[in-house]
Amino acid sequence: MDKKLGVYICKGCGIEDALDMEKLEKKVPPKIKICKNHPILCSPEGVDLIKQDIAGEGVNTVVIAACSRRVLYDVFDFGPVIVERVNLREGVVWSHKPQEAPAEGEGPQVDEFIQEMAEDYLRMGLAEAERILPPEPYKEETIDKKIMVLGGGVSGLSAAMEAAKAGYEATVIEKGPQVGGFAAKMRKQTPWSHPYEELQEPVVEQLIKEAEAHPKIEIRTGIEVARIAGAPGIFDITLKPAGAKSAWDIPEPVEEVEGAEAPPQPPGADEATPDNPANILAKNPDAERFGAIILATGWKPWEPKEEAEEPAQAEESAQAEGEGEEAKAKEPSYEHLGLGKLPNVVTNVALEEMAAQGKILRPSDGKPAASVAFVQCRGQGSDEDFPYASSVTSMVALKQAKYVREDGAADAKAYIFYQHMRTPGLTEYFYKSAQQDDGIFLTKGDVVGVSGNGDGTLVLEANDTLLGEKIKVSVDMVVLGTGMVPITKDEAVLNFAYRQGPGFRDLDLFDGYPDSNFICFPYETRRTGIYVAGCARRAMGIQECREDAAGAALKAIQCIESANRGVAVHPRSGDMTFPDFFFQRCTQCKRCTEECPFGALDDDEKGTPLPNPTRCRRCGTCMGACPERIVGFADYNIDSIGSMVKAIEVPEEEEKPRVLILACENDAYPALDMVGMKGLSYSPFVRIIPVRCLGSVNVVWIKDALSKGVDGILTIGCKFGDDYQCHFVKGSELLDIRMDKIGEALKSLALEKERVQQVQIAIDEYDKIPGIIDEFMATIEEVGPNPFKGF
């Protein structure tokens, strides 16, 4: 494309007072004919000025040197015209103060360092504008808009209903013989409407009727997924009878080994020919096509592991006892509660099933249970509840305590021993109503143990209760408030035919829940187009599941429509760009395939990446990973950023160091803008380039900067690790790994490792930024100027 650049410099918001505008304009090379300034560029007159040039002069690339790209983007939107923003306001004049106060009587003095900064930014902006192209969306030929809902419980059926009501076809796949899930096995439901006090009849039957009657919903039972191939809009899903073997089953993945080079490969996948189903690339001609998937596979009850230790193991564990770490990792014991040993000790799930069938009876002799103790915590000095316990577990205990009162005589008793009673929001009313029942007795307490009396009656002992230090109660039954384990924890229910394996990665970070970030991105999994709802996302009650299902259904619809328009769905919603690979130079190193946080890339037998653009989130991690630098986006690529780095003028004077900051545009760059907005300031020797994600930072930019004489490079991105805040899950962590390797390379060039550093920051930590930059500048001063300066 032939570019015709127009440069527009704004003088408002303090820019004119701090900078020598004439000098700045002179930095625009003469080949660019159009260079104008305006007192207030964002005013209608200012915008008209640009529009006239677009219409009259044929300007198709506009460089606006004014405020940050994060503001007024809607004002400076000229349709297909490329818009490059040079951040003079937040990035230069607001965040930097002149070194010397102007002498009296003199007008405002232009600070040399600040002026140089503005000039550099202008040069960088021009360099980038020369090298970027307007994006064109990637469109699949045909898109299927049908939604597959995996799981036929309340969440699944509700999701299907919500999708259907919005006009989308939905197919519910249920593994079991009938839909309804656990909700169909309940006696009553905890209340969801005013006054939130009485148990209500389960809604599931009504929901099943509605879903079965809806013309846009198809329900299939006794079916499960053999494999999911493809991408959003074009998922090719092979279904099979539940429990049956299929030629299209995804082979068991090899255990992922930490630090291993290759991603987990199913055995035999490499040898297989393209039409052998063992190959994940093999296409099943009979597969059904769907646009997006809602994962509503729910939960299974938690159960304590068998504790029968074999003698050999016992010896081993005795040896291990000395080593604190091993002892710590040992699963806590639940033996003292008697589950599995005393017949009248049951889980809340077993009690619910019994209550749905009829009255609550002691399993040992079938006598009515006149007194039942509900145990909500492991006890024996521990503050912990059972694994996967939640507010649902608390609510269920209260509900089942009411069953005991319903079934028994007037003096039937239900005890609840808890460490945490979680009844959030309006459910507090339900807690109150249970508490006010004469026969329901609640206390915080540390359960010591449950023992049998021989006649089936149980004695429960507890310490540190509200009633005193040590108490005992004699009861007919003990019910353990065990939690809800997401099915995804132990089963690869989706069976992706993806190179990165059949399940979700890093599930351990979230205890098996497939969320990619529970707080920031509800419903999003690490696989684009798969949205998780209900108890597979977190333990929740029936009503919450219904609301959750609506959210996931809307995400699925958004995904399908985004794929249809060829734009990114999340988190860069609406981004039309997509990674473009220059395959001739690919060395099949598979780094992009391996590093993509979302498994967007598969690869062929040789290892050449096979992109799936609708799976892509446009973070650019592949671009950052590629050692051959063959990956790029229309408006964001190795060359566009590299040329910005090269456009920085590096003076030879020692008192004018130069530091390059690569700042993640999600958190770090807004935080840097905020530094200016809040009137704080940082060193004028830094030059900031925003990047999509630190994962997209290619080490070549760092090498370019260092060989140019830049004294140091600071990358600022989101927090990573267990509580990561990276918008692309792994980006900042991947750069950290790459940086480790850079350290070695620097040494070989006789450059100090300290010159390249990475900092993690959250968006609200803008106040820390000046300190971070100062500290880095001090480090650079200590190690001295880059010896490559001037070469």
């Binding site: 004469d438 007795f441 206390t443």
Partner: protein, 381 residues
């Protein structure tokens, strides 16, 4: 550490407490705001938090023999600050009612005095008894001439009824109840670690009783209440007027049998003045109490039959007593004698049912306060 305690909740007891005015007890969620705001609760093992959980769990044995429920003066500062509306002050009042019934002898009488269904029966007992007594002795008629109550209900007959009531019935029934009560609170206090001493020493206990008297006379605990300050003055009035009337009654007894001076006495007689002043104070006090209870104030104590019974009895007592005197002075013969009859009925009820009614708190609370000082839970002032 104490052995573990087998908790056996009594659902029926929970229901009884609720019926006695503690209907809010299940609302408590054990935040202990009550124990913190209570101006008179001791710092160690303060009430009423622990009493509330015991009440919720229906643990009768932890409540009825608990001296702490008697240290509470039902200020209702706790109820005012309770975030859940559990009204601990009223719950403890209900527990006290249960405690009175628990230790009453004979226990069936204790139960019926606190049961509204027996109200008329209890009133009918003295009515019938007096009618039979007067009928048998031939006095059952309105006498002629100057009104002299002794002509209608001879003093001897009065004393045949009331002297044994006061000197035999009350000491025996109350004595049995109290001895049960004291051994229960001692056992409970030792078991719960509230008593600093575990021995039983009668002289020391009597010393504690003596040191409790100024507290009772000065209402110094009562005066620490903030939410229900209004209850202080009427209670003080009622308390002192009862003392006044007690003094007067004894004085007239001495006048009649030792000095051989029969009534009625002149209005300027100092004892007569004391009687009249006490009567007026009692009337004012009891009316103020009733007003406090029926006025719909947020922090007003809840009023159950247990409270109404005593209030109505005292009101009846003072009204019939005062009207007897006024109608006598106004020579309203046909009215004066029946009113006097009614007055004697109320006096009978007061004495005969004292160990079973709320009025028993006069003794139980004093003893509990004395025990608390004896056991070192509270200091002697």
């Amino acid at each position: 550490m104490a052995d573990s305690y087998l908790v056996e909740p009594d659902v029926k007891f929970v229901k009884q407490l609720k019926a006695m005015g503690g209907d809010t007890l299940k609302k408590c969620y054990q935040c202990a705001t009550c124990s913190v705001v209570c101006p008179i609760s001791p710092e160690e093992r303060p009430f009423p938090r622990k009493e509330m959980i015991a009440a919720q769990w229906g643990l009768k044995d932890k409540l009825v023999g608990n001296m702490d429920v008697w240290l509470c003066h039902q200020c209702n500062d706790c109820s005012t600050y309770c975030p859940r509306g559990a009204r601990p002050g009223d719950v403890l009042n209900a527990v006290r009612g249960m405690s009175i019934t628990e230790y009453a002898w004979p226990s069936w009488l204790g139960r019926i005095v606190q049961d509204w269904r027996f109200f008329w029966l209890l009133l009918a007992i003295p009515v019938a008894f007096f009618l039979v007594l007067l009928g048998a002795t031939g006095y059952l008629k309105i006498p002629d001439g100057e009104i002299e109550f002794a002509k209608f209900f001879p003093t001897l007959l009065v004393d045949i009824v009331f002297v044994p009531l006061a000197t035999l019935w009350l000491p025996v029934t109350f004595g049995i109840g109290l001895s049960r009560f004291i051994s229960a609170i001692h056992k409970n206090a030792v078991a719960e670690g509230k008593a600093k001493r575990k021995d039983v020493n009668v002289p020391d206990f009597l010393k504690s009783l003596v040191c409790t008297v100024p507290t009772v006379l000065g209402h110094s605990k009562f005066s620490q209440c903030t939410a229900n300050k209004d209850r202080y003055v009427p209670h003080l009035l009622v308390f002192y007027s009862f003392i006044g009337l007690f003094v007067v009654t004894n004085a007239f007894f001495v006048a009649l049998y030792i000095l051989q001076v029969p009534g009625p006495y002149a209005q300027w007689n100092p004892f007569k003045i004391l009687a009249n002043v006490s009567a007026i104070a009692l009337l004012v006090g009891v009316i103020m109490m009733i007003r406090n209870r029926i006025g719909n104030k947020d922090n007003a104590s809840k009023t159950s039959y247990f409270d109404w019974y005593l209030l109505l009895l005292v009101l009846g007592l003072v009204l019939t007593g005062g009207l007897s005197e006024l109608t006598r002075l106004a020579h309203l013969t046909t009215v004066a004698y029946p009113i006097y009859f009614a007055h004697l009925v109320f006096v009978f009820c007061l004495f005969a049912y004292l160990p079973y009614s709320k009025l028993a708190h006069l003794v139980y609370r004093t003893v509990a306060m004395a025990y608390s000082r004896y056991a070192g839970r509270e200091p002697c002032e």
